[in-house]
Symmetry: C2
Subunit: 152 residues, 2 copies
């Protein structure tokens, strides 16, 4: 018989979250992002700028939970690929002002509905009550995970 004290990886919440998140991210990449030559991070930046044009890199950091170096690199590539345009803030010459280019907007308009559709199909396995419950649960877990961080 098995010792019930042993940690069972397949029931361990952090592990399950990691596996699920990876499966989902890969699914999205394979379905919608790879074929446009976008990384997940680039796609996230497109997504926030599609909704909030003119954000600075630091604003994107706050909105995406990405590291500032990761944002810097992804933005540099997006600009290089003609998907973003950057100018400098008049008020603060350190701050960038980022907007989607025409090409970037087209990407956003194309990928956005696909992403929503993916989410819809993913959530289809849950009843609407569970969908709502999941949302609350994720909020609570996120807050708790932050509270458990050593730095907190």
């Amino acid at each position: 018989m098995e010792n019930s004290e042993l940690l069972k990886l397949e029931e361990f919440l952090p592990y399950r979250l990691s596996v699920l998140s990876n499966t989902v991210s890969r699914g999205i990449s394979a379905a919608y992002v790879d074929r446009f030559g976008l990384s997940i991070r680039e796609w996230r930046i497109i997504a926030v700028l599609g909704r909030f044009p003119g954000l600075s890199a630091a604003d994107i950091v706050k909105r995406t939970e990405m590291d500032k170096v990761a944002v810097s690199r992804a933005v540099a590539r997006l600009i290089g690929d003609g998907r973003l345009e950057r100018s400098l803030s008049d008020a603060d010459k350190r701050r960038s002002v980022l907007v989607l280019s025409g090409e970037g907007k087209r990407l956003y308009d194309q990928i956005s509905p696909m992403a929503k559709n993916y989410e819809e199909r993913l959530l289809k396995c849950l009843g609407s009550e569970d969908q709502d419950r999941l949302s609350d649960i994720l909020d609570n877990l996120q807050k708790q995970a932050i509270a458990l961080r050593p730095s907190s």
Copy 2:
């Protein structure tokens, strides 16, 4: 007023899963894994071998959802650090037989309870009903995410 058609990243399930999983993984790393000089992947291998001694690398792949290359590399490092011991299967000389060394067992015995404790504190933000519900929901989402994979 805001266009409700726009994709809101902060409500987008794949994004929320990714952020939560990262926050949790980092929390665990910072709290229990970093200070033993283990990566998350090394820790996972320790965890499965603590419960199932004698697995092969391929068995670990199946049990951890890790890539075989990632397993190969993590196992090599664990052996180099004296935390694992490897022998070859008699029946099939390609297969490795992996077991924790004394040092590996001590790590397992030390980290396992800490990991469980972390999970417990994380889940404390949910009622017991929500905890059960979450488990079911994650199972369903995982199956659905696999079903939505292009390769499926």
